[in-house]
Symmetry: C2
Subunit: 222 residues, 2 copies
DNA sequence: GTCTATATGCGGATAGAC
DNA sequence: GTCTATCCGCATATAGAC
């Protein structure tokens, strides 16, 4: 059962990037743990950053394809008039977590990596993510406007940022969160279900919360 | 108006750590932009990591003190029986954003840094954050259990992770989010208000979302 | 495609003069 | 407290033999 050197490098890089971060992981770490030669990375991928791009593309493409397909089906089946917020959020949130289960342990590692990359502050890495993400983001932003027509565009943008933040943290911590429970079989599904609930509630928004800045301390200060 | 070298280093490190990340920022970057000697960091702080600890402690201490004080007042004024979810979330979320306004531009940078550190995967940096955070986390976890008694402990833990994720993203992106709007005066308050709304809705949780794993695709697949 | 050897530069930290 | 000079290791990337 001979495996491609390129694939071994991808798998090992995915795991180490997830556990230690992109910058803190050296090519020496990767090649030594993958049992390949140091020069192999540059031969097969060119640069360290191109290796990260390959790692990301391999997993993000099917995830984002699934997101777009689910959104297509959703819009087609409802004629774009009765899409529910919950259905929309599921189309966005389910693919990464279901792909994780299909991919097993490497999927867990990639999810952790993906979560961290969503909060990356290196400009080039952000661009790598955006390149994978821009179509999904545009399509879902439009859909959120349809589903939540009473919210201003700037409010939609803020809530989508919170949504992505909650999702990213769920991805990053999926290992610990699902490991701290007692039962072991249903935990990933529990995490996803809880996340969907949280985001449905959050995007819906409680109108009991104050909107004026002067009232923001009500209930806190005497 | 002579300023302490130590303070200049703290201010500069805070800004550069926020903009480029801890690992990617070298001591040479910091000392050159701060116009101090390279050896000054090691003289005043010992190591690069100790410098980060000092940066974090300077801002996190007043923020977390304010959180605990607000929680104290909340529990005292209501005799620990009628605390609202909204009041609890405000006690947790308001201090970092209000301190940011008091601190001006450095406050913005620290908020960005704090957001990134919440999603850090370096073990030592996580421990630095935890050290600042553990008391706050314990107190608020207990309070959330009181306010949401119908939720299992594991469900509380998951939702708190989502809450912190949404907050961290709001912190990280406060600059961009508040800059993409048209009005300029009320934006930080708008971001905070939206975040509180989102989290109130999220922690409350919609019971319309499915809880069984087999039903998770309802409304998405035909 | 795979290997060794190396070019080249930056990193944190410190010694010791002032 | 501040400076210069330097130690020493690790980083990415490449040249060139096999």
């Amino acid at each position: 059962m001979k495996v491609d050197t390129k694939t071994i490098i991808l798998d090992t890089a995915e795991r180490l990037f997830a556990d230690s971060g992109f910058i803190a992981t050296s090519l020496r770490d990767i090649t030594s743990k993958a049992n390949v030669n140091l020069a192999a990375v540059n031969y097969h991928f060119g640069t360290k950053e191109a290796l990260l791009a390959a790692v990301m593309e391999r997993r993000f493409r099917p995830i984002n394809d699934a997101r777009l397909q689910l959104l297509d089906e959703l819009e087609a089946s409802t004629n774009n008039k009765t899409i529910t917020l919950e259905g929309l959020l599921k189309a966005f949130l389910i693919p990464p977590f279901h792909q994780q289960r299909e991919w097993g342990e490497p999927g867990k590692k990639f999810l952790k990596l993906a979560g961290h990359i969503h909060g990356e502050n290196n400009e080039e890495i952000r661009l790598l993510l955006l390149k994978q993400f821009v179509t999904v983001l545009e399509r879902f932003t439009k859909a959120f406007h349809h589903v939540l027509p009473h919210l201003e565009p700037s409010e939609i943008n803020r809530r989508m940022a919170f949504l992505i933040g909650a999702m990213a943290f769920a991805m990053m911590n999926a290992e610990q969160i699902t490991a701290s429970d007692s039962k072991d079989s249903q935990q990933p599904e529990q995490l996803l279900t809880s996340l969907i609930k949280f985001c449905v509630g959050g995007m819906t928004g409680s109108d009991s919360a104050p909107t004026s800045s002067s009232a923001v301390l009500n209930g806190v200060h005497k």
